[in-house]
């Protein structure tokens, strides 16, 4: 997004991408059927455990979108695992992201004022709202305006329709006093706008995570980079792994970056007047922590000592699943092509009436009810074999329903990433991160509440509940790692100012999830895009004024 915004404003931009270029025709498996793949698309037994054991969302179709853990280590404290899912390829995680596009509200930006914990963001919803508008219109988001103050409405294409089971679940939620709304997803459900060249309307094939070959889902390869390239001011250098930012020894400002070629291992340097770090939350922080110099003894931008701190993820793993007897045995229809579901927005700690004694903040539920190519419930819920087993699978696979929590994690100083002090490096000799993160009692109490509430909603909807509770996901598994270079008004307690500009080094900007002050309970990408647009506008103004 930064490349698009800045080239459009007349800047010459060099993008250093750590991974290879992407060729959609070769690399996307959008319409590959399981029977065209070895092992029906599941891959050889144990393949993921060999090289990509932490790349949870990688399938055998999409494995090349992800890093190899064997080349890209990181370390953790004993007993405190962290799952770090990473993409190193042109387009990065936008090639396979979940596409859920929610706005944060002042309940999130001013959460500390609301409940007294942590810090507010240095911006309000009103300041970011115009950029949310622009981001939604550019990427194309389908959804409804639902009139919920804590889930602000936006500029949407028509929502994807609910399935029968989702309507049943929505009614069940309403019986318990909660709303259930269509997911807001970055997928084109109407004719593309003029500037959306090369993008087409979603045809509901359901393989978004394997690369969308019609570019109905937003990704940077089909959307931002072509527009940037069309200006003639963009240079892209793939396979360029940044080691650190180079400091000008006279001024202490950033003068460029040092990188190593992923394939040839040849070292290189690139120089620029403004550096934008957007390598994803933890990779960006790793680069900054590795950028030590006489001017920046603890890493670039770390005079406050908070760089790497306040690491959060959302948590999941808690919920309930089952089936709707009323839908069992109906004729199967293609419902999994939608590849998204419905959402029950946060309903705890919104006001005095919903205030909880045991936890602050809140959670929502991502829910779905649809047939799918592989009848997942048949594996665990139905036993037996032979003709009777097949009959039971056919009967129930049209009726599954499930809901799983997406919950806020409190931003706490004691959850952090640092450069591994034992000297562990990656395959290119670059020092790696060590993660220190665990949930607090607040998250544990929230999980207990979510487990009980999900079962209540499912039963109210008329479902037979087969599985409840679960285990909280290990931090990182939801792939919403945020914080570690947070923004704030006080340079003593934050890394960036409210325009994503480093307090310590004025010509460095961090425009990814590292800048988040708190996590809310919503997917972060739309907010990252809006913040980036805003930061680029600021860069343009400051550059013109000669302040960079």
């Amino acid at each position: 997004m930064a490349a698009k915004e800045l080239t459009e404003r007349g800047f010459e931009v060099l993008v250093l991408e750590a991974g290879p270029p992407v060729n959609p025709q070769r690399d996307f498996s959008t319409h590959t059927w399981p029977y065209q793949m070895m092992y029906r698309g599941f891959g050889p037994p144990g393949w993921k455990q060999q090289e990509q054991w932490m790349q949870d969302t990688a399938s055998y179709y999409s494995r090349h979108f992800y890093v190899k853990d064997s080349e890209n280590p990181y370390t953790t404290e004993p007993g405190k695992p962290f799952m770090w899912v990473r993409a190193r390829i042109m387009g990065g995680k936008t090639l396979h992201w979940g596409r859920l596009s929610w706005r944060l509200s002042d309940l999130d930006f001013k959460a500390a004022t609301h409940d007294g914990f942590g810090d507010d963001w240095p911006i309000s919803y009103a300041e970011l709202a115009p950029y949310y508008d622009r981001a939604e219109e550019f990427i194309g988001v389908s959804g409804n305006n639902d009139g919920l103050a804590h889930v602000p409405d936006g500029k949407y294409m028509p929502p994807m329709p609910m399935t029968c089971g989702e309507h049943l679940l929505r009614k069940g939620a309403e019986k318990t006093g909660r709303r259930a709304i269509s997911m807001r997803v970055a997928m084109l459900t109407a004719q593309p706008k003029k500037f959306m060249k090369g993008r087409r309307k979603c045809h509901y094939c359901g393989h978004c995570g394997d690369g969308c070959d019609v570019n109905a889902m937003f990704n940077s390869v089909a959307s931002t980079l072509p527009i940037a390239a069309a200006t003639g001011r963009l240079t892209v250098r793939p396979n360029s792994i940044v080691r650190h930012i180079i400091t000008d020894t006279k001024t202490g400002k950033a003068s460029g970056v040092a990188f190593v070629d992923r394939v040839t291992h040849v070292e290189g340097e690139a120089f620029a007047k403004v550096i934008i770090v957007a390598a994803s939350t933890l990779e960006s922080t790793r680069i900054l922590l590795n950028s030590k110099s006489r001017h920046h003894l603890q890493g670039m931008g770390n005079s406050s000592g908070v760089l790497g701190h306040y690491l959060v993820d959302h948590f999941g793993g808690i919920g309930a699943s089952g089936f709707f007897p009323v839908l069992a045995g109906r004729d199967p229809i293609n419902e999994d092509g939608k590849a998204t579901g419905i959402f029950i927005p946060r309903f705890r700690n919104l006001d005095a009436a919903s205030k909880q004694k045991k936890f602050i903040r809140g959670y929502g539920f991502e829910c779905g009810s649809a047939t799918s190519m592989f009848p997942g419930m048949a594996r665990r819920a139905i036993s037996g074999f032979g003709a009777e087993y097949k009959k039971q699978v056919r009967r129930f696979y049209t009726s599954p329903v499930g809901m799983t929590v997406r919950a806020a994690m409190l931003s706490r100083f004691e959850n952090y990433a640092e450069i591994d002090t034992n000297g562990v490096v990656d395959a290119w000799g670059i020092p790696v991160l060590k993660m220190h993160i665990e949930y607090s009692d607040n998250e544990r109490e929230m999980a207990k509440d979510a487990a009980e509430t999900s079962e209540e909603i499912l039963r109210a909807a008329g479902a037979e509940v087969m599985s409840t509770g679960g285990q909280m996901t290990a931090p990182g598994r939801i792939i919403h790692e945020l914080g570690t270079a947070r923004m704030g008004n006080d340079p003593k307690t934050s890394v960036l100012n409210k325009f994503n500009q480093m307090h310590d080094v004025k010509n460095v900007f961090v425009t990814d999830g590292a800048s988040f002050v708190s996590s809310a309970n919503h997917n972060p990408t739309l907010t990252i895009l809006a913040l980036t647009m805003r930061a680029c506008e600021y860069i343009t103004d400051e550059y013109k004024r000669g302040n960079l």
């Binding site: 695992p81 799952m83 779905g368 599954p400 207990k448 599985s467 598994r477």
Partner: protein, 227 residues
């Protein structure tokens, strides 16, 4: 054959090899490395575990081979544990450890098989998976996967003693190599070793318990390495 206890000089003409990756099979760490278009099979066979300066050190032989050529061994290689990565997923099942036997049946527990089939929790099709068997703490709150009693080590990162790549015939500078040892057991001995490594790492990380728990854990690890 050679002994790698002395540090050979760095080899400036060669590309530096920073990391090696290997997966534990039975009691052997099994991996590959690439150099100038050739793929070398690499094995590390530790036969002793000791604690030196509060760090786990494995000692054993290391072999390098290319197809249709004899394996070249370095007889004494030490691997000093630098750090670990906690595993995530279904915890290995604790069972009665094998005593002095090396069973390597290619088996996986039913939970491990289910984990492989289940697929991730994902926004793409939210909520359409079964939930892990619930486990609760004393306050009735759900546990966090792969922590506490469900915790285990997924990767051990070792610093290898310097390797003289010249005598091994490998065109790389191997004077300072890190071994990433992945624990993803598919056989009973590797499964036992994963738990034993996890016990030793936990004991090393908890200094107050070290005296009581490290000794037995280390003994058990040595027994398994020599079985």
């Amino acid at each position: 054959m050679e002994n790698a206890q002395h540090r050979p000089p760095a080899q400036p003409g060669f590309t530096k090899l920073y990391t090696l990756h290997a997966v534990l099979r039975g009691r052997v760490f099994d991996g590959t490395l690439e150099a100038r278009g050739k793929t070398y099979a690499v094995v590390f066979l530790p036969n002793q575990a000791t604690i030196v300066d509060h760090k786990l050190v494995l000692t054993g032989r290391m072999g390098f081979s290319v197809p249709q050529q004899a394996t070249r061994f370095v007889e004494v290689v030490s691997a000093s544990l630098m750090a670990t990565q906690g595993g995530v997923g279904v915890s290995p099942v604790r069972r009665q450890l094998l005593a002095g036997t090396a069973q390597t049946a290619q088996t996986a527990t039913s939970d491990q098989k289910l984990e492989q089939e289940k697929g991730p929790e994902t926004d793409l099709q939210p909520g359409l998976h079964s939930f892990e068997s619930p486990k609760y703490d004393d306050l009735g709150r759900p546990e966090v996967e792969a922590t506490g009693s469900l915790g285990f080590v997924g990767v051990l990162y070792f610093k290898l003693s310097p390797l003289d790549s010249k005598s091994l015939g490998i065109p790389l500078d191997m004077s300072d190599v890190q071994l990433g040892a992945r624990l993803a057991p598919t056989d009973d001995l590797a499964r036992d070793l994963q738990l034993l490594f996890s016990d030793v790492v936990a004991a090393l990380g908890n200094k107050s318990e070290e005296e009581t728990s490290l000794g037995p854990a280390l003994d058990a690890l040595n027994n398994a390495l020599k079985s």
